[in-house]
Symmetry: C2
Subunit: 260 residues, 2 copies
């Protein structure tokens, strides 16, 4: 049996933007969107079917049963304290960093976390079938509801404690943000020399396939894992035009040598 939620979205950033359309496409109703800046709330509401924008946190008259806080980490506590909710509401936040008890000062009867493990950019469509959600709640019924919500998005979900969610978030920074920055640095080295970055693309694709298939330990190649000190020094000298880049080269190479 499908369960349809009536939802209010609190926030107008990238997560709010992508999540609200996905939820609507999955058959849920987005009744309200809150933005401190009413213009932004209007912008987002206008992309949804029948959603009211509002710039105050009084939801006592709302018909929603699920309230999703999707604001910056720093603003969550303040919003949770200020928001006025109808009875028997579920209040969740979507942060990978903030603990569950940051919602404990709210008036919500039930609280939880609905953290989509994905980096969101406005310019890029998100396919939620590929986004695992990390869920948390002290209330079993709420947890069940959040799982159903993920299922309606066809997204995988995992029940994760706050402590572990923090570890996963740190790991995700390495796995996504930092892998991306390594490619950024490669781009900058190529660009500086007037070389076409596309030459490297087959290498990157093959490396990631290998990494995910064999595991990163077995998939490591290159001068550091070979203990090829001559090449490491040669590359380090090459990078002397940018001290920070050279230091990152040295640190990561050292860590590869130490780990293998």
């Amino acid at each position: 049996m499908d369960m349809k939620f009536t939802i209010a979205i609190i926030g107008t950033g990238n997560v709010a933007w992508h999540l609200s359309s996905a939820l609507e496409n999955a058959g849920h109703e987005i009744l309200e969107v809150y933005g401190r800046d009413i213009q932004k709330a209007r912008q987002l509401s206008s992309r949804l079917y029948a959603t009211e924008p509002q710039d105050h946190l009084d939801f006592t008259e709302s018909k929603a049963n699920l309230f999703i806080i999707a604001v910056s980490d720093q603003a969550i506590a303040q919003v949770a304290e200020a928001v006025l909710l109808p009875e028997r509401s579920i209040l969740v936040h979507t942060s990978g960093t903030m603990p569950l008890d940051i919602l404990s000062y709210s008036s919500a009867d039930f609280t939880g976390i609905l953290y989509p493990l994905q980096g969101f950019s406005k310019s890029r469509e998100v396919s939620f079938e590929e986004v695992p959600f990390l869920l948390e709640s002290e209330d079993k019924e709420t947890l069940k509801n959040l799982k159903k919500l993920c299922k309606s998005l066809k997204a995988p979900s995992h029940e994760i404690r706050s402590k572990d969610r923090r570890s996963i978030h740190v790991a995700a920074v390495f796995a996504a943000n930092f892998t991306n920055h390594m490619v950024f640095m490669a781009e900058s080295i190529m660009k500086r020399q007037g070389l076409d970055f596309d030459i490297l693309k087959p290498l990157i694709i093959e490396q990631m396939n290998k990494t995910l298939l064999l595991g990163a330990s077995d998939a490591q190649t290159g001068p550091a894992v070979r203990n090829d000190i001559n090449t490491l020094e040669n590359h380090h000298d090459y990078l002397s035009y940018n001290e920070q880049l050279a230091e990152i080269y040295r640190n990561i190479s050292q860590d590869i040598m130490d780990s293998h």
Copy 2:
């Protein structure tokens, strides 16, 4: 018109291993394999159609016209000086780091570089159609021959000067070895906490798709590019159990902030 080469492979490492079967599959003849250790030369020869193993560098009686040095960077100069070749031979090395003129002390009439831009592991099949070769030679005819060789492997090839090849090699270390190590670090963080690494796989796949599609600059997300100092400090504290890891976290985050 297809051109079939008669080839001797000098070396028995990963590159020699993968390249020799690929060349044979493309219709070329591998006449000899040289290994300082004759056992290794025998091992590799036995996987090929009609190849003689040998542990000396005297090829004056060889019917090969292309001699491919696939030994460690440190050994190339020594091998090039010692190898005895028939007249009108082409001698190439396969290194991303060593310049062309390292072959200038050899007795070869023609020299060149045939550098496959890929990390090779024994355990993983290589599809050469996905491996760009970086080519170099001062002789136009040799360059043409190397291009034909790549074409026979269905591999893309680029003519690249030694100076640029070095830049590409440094960039490739960031793009492949270091991206892989970021995933390794993510794995280690998950493992330490007893968490299933597979939770992160959809994130990694989506990030790499985004990185290659949008470019790494536009594809960056996460706490550093958001200047989210609280999260950065929180993560840095979390990583205090491993000083080197914490320092790498700080350096890369700083570089992301400086680059955006």
